[in-house]
Amino acid sequence: MKPLFIGGEMAGWSDLDGVRGPGPARGASLAALLRAAVPPGGRVLLAGPHDPALVGALPAARLTLLVRGVRDAEALSALPGVTVCCGGLDKLVAEPPFDTVVALDGVARLSSMECDEFAWGEAFEMLVAALRPGGRLLLGMPNALGVDRLVAPPTEPGDGDWAPAGEYDPTRPAGLTRARARLAAAGLGVDAVYAAYPSPTAPSALLGEAILADDAVTGFVAATLGRSFAPPGVQPARVGPGPGRPRPVGWAAVLTEPGGLARQALRQGLAGALAPGWMVVARRASRDRSAGLPGAIVDGRRLDHDPVRGWVGEDGAAVPPGRTLEDLLMVAASRRELGSVRALLARWQRGMAAGVPADQVVVTADGTFVALAPAREPGAALGKLAATLVRGGLADAWPAQAGAADLAVTLAAVAGAAADARAAGVLAVDGLVAERDRLARALAAARAKAAWYERTLADRESALAEARRVAELLSASWPAKAGMAFVGGVRLARRRARAVLRRVRPRV
């Protein structure tokens, strides 16, 4: 069916292609959320850029898609059984209310450059107005101070940021607490709020408030946060030395490694507050009804809490309780319980999980190692742990002053493993600064050593010359000694005579 041009459509523009923006809301986890949270049947509005794959994930329903780019509208109109509206949200007023309104990308890309820019509050009001009483709203909310923003270097505004009110928009609720109040004021009950990692548009993990607060599975959650930023097998973006100047490590275009910061936030109980975004599931009704909604979604797999078995995946597998191996190693290293460190390292490196990074291994109460990521090279896993120890200020528990690579080799020796340990990952800006400081210290030490060698060498040389003279004197025959003494006397007499002549006839 041809798209309906409702007004405010943007000619030649696409949000779906990701060329001039972050691309559409997408991924297996958002698809799982739609399957769980959108009631089957009824009329559904999908407002803003959503990956066509998400449309397929929706339960059978009468579906209306709203996009602003003409190119997107034309591409989406090829999908079977959907109505595609192209233009600004404000032009959708003629539509009767919907049973479900989905805006996983949030409200920022519901404004068109052909219309006046809406503030967050205006767009939110329009979405709520499009919802029938009792209907469900799924709304994405990016966090202006999320982990992804905290680690980002200064960036130029893109082609989509023609009027980026963003965090200065006074109608945008500041943080989750005020967002809840804003929803309540609009007559909505909040059924669930998920912290979205690693980005608001393409989250692999959607973590409900209960699982974030559950100490029993903190290892699993920490591993999930870390993995979301660095999925196994995906190389982080590298900047720095070009192909002509090979170096062992480049540096990533981040201020600090985001997975580490997210785990730090989790340790402080702030993983929800500092999430890159939130997905809010609400209903236009006074009472909340969270029944049937997942407790979390990780890599497209839903998790629910069972009063007896704890957190259980949709396939029936229980989430391993416990902390990560990395956490346990950091605690032991910080207390200098090197015996415990040695034992943990040995079990890890001699077991099946040797190639799994320590932050992706959960150690359960009975001491079982549960790997949450596929195994790769053990050397790289040791390198990653070494980098974490260096960042945590624990490198000096062992003699390994030459940085993470050196420490990785030491750790392999401590573990009694034959792994080809090496530095892994890329340096972020904070790592570069620390590395610069370490190199400056190493250089100062090397210079001091060189100066000391120089002094020692000079002393040795003069001692050696003296010793040689004595040796020569002692080793020569008697007439030779007399001869040397005579020649020495003649040379002395001649030098003295010249000195006297210079004084008497200074100009000759």
Partner: protein
């Protein structure tokens, strides 16, 4: 900087607004939008050097240009809006319609039937009609006579100018004068002239064969998009309040910049 800054006496009008009294066209340090369009405000056939400031008429055009990758964009409003801000109040008495048959510019060729258009104008316009032709068409004696034989008065506002030759500092003044003599402004396509007319107090109308250009690429959605996006401005009768709102927005008449700031933006230092 660019010769197009002096089209239609634009730079002269702005110099007058800024209190600069000089005969030669003052050099604007940047590129000034010279006509209403639905793209980035710049003309497709003009050389544009990245890093040159661009002075645009409206906020919508700025947003659109930004989305197309342009930067250093500043909204100053249309020179015609400045002229109107400086002009003394109009003399009373407006009569008839000033009609702008859509023109191509130098090097373009319009295809369409002037005869049918004349019949339609006659059937639609209640009072006397003034036809304003582009200078190229005005030079065609045959075309001029055709409109005159239909009982219309035929005028031309002057030369557009180009490459610093045939500059016409009085162009917009003449246009304003003519617009203020008429109660209605009409054309077969929505163009700058319609917005100027609305801002000058005329009731607008857009109807008749749009006389598409021979090789109209339809850039940015083309004529079909203009019809859709500004549907309320098309027709023989148009809501004057809606038209005024659109004209103010498209000409940036609500975003005029004070003289001192404009001098600074253009690099005009006394």
């Amino acid at each position: 900087m660019h010769h197009a800054n002096h089209y239609y006496g634009h730079s002269h009008v702005l110099a007058r607004y800024c209190g600069l009294a000089q005969r030669a066209a003052p050099r604007i340090h940047g590129y000034l939008q010279h006509g209403w369009n639905i793209g980035d405000g710049l003309a497709d056939d003009h050389e544009f050097v990245t890093g040159t400031p661009v002075f645009l008429w409206s906020e919508r055009t700025r947003r659109r240009a930004w989305s197309m990758g342009r930067r250093e964009l500043y909204v100053v409003g249309a020179p015609f809006a400045y002229l109107l801000a400086m002009a003394s109040p109009p003399a009373a008495g407006r009569e008839g319609t000033i009609w702008y048959p859509f023109h191509g510019w130098e090097g373009q060729h319009v295809v369409g039937d002037h005869g049918r258009l004349i019949d339609q104008i006659r059937a639609t316009e209640p009072g006397p009609v003034t036809i304003c032709l582009y200078w190229q068409e005005f030079q065609s004696r045959r075309l001029r006579r055709r409109y005159e034989r239909a009982g219309f008065r035929v005028v031309c506002h002057g030369y557009r100018g180009g490459w610093w030759r045939d500059l016409d500092p009085g162009f917009l003044d003449r246009q304003l004068g003519e617009l203020r003599r008429h109660a209605r402004v009409a054309a077969n396509r929505l163009t700058s002239a319609i917005f100027y007319g609305v801002l000058a107090g005329c009731e607008p109308a857009v109807y008749g064969d749009p006389m598409l250009l021979e090789r109209d690429a339809g850039a940015h959605g083309g004529h079909a998009r203009i019809r859709r996006q500004w549907a309320e401005l098309h027709g023989e009768r148009v809501d004057p309040a809606l038209a005024r709102e659109a004209a103010v927005a498209e000409l940036g008449a609500d975003r005029l910049v004070p003289p001192a700031e404009l001098r600074h933006l253009f690099g005009w230092h006394a």
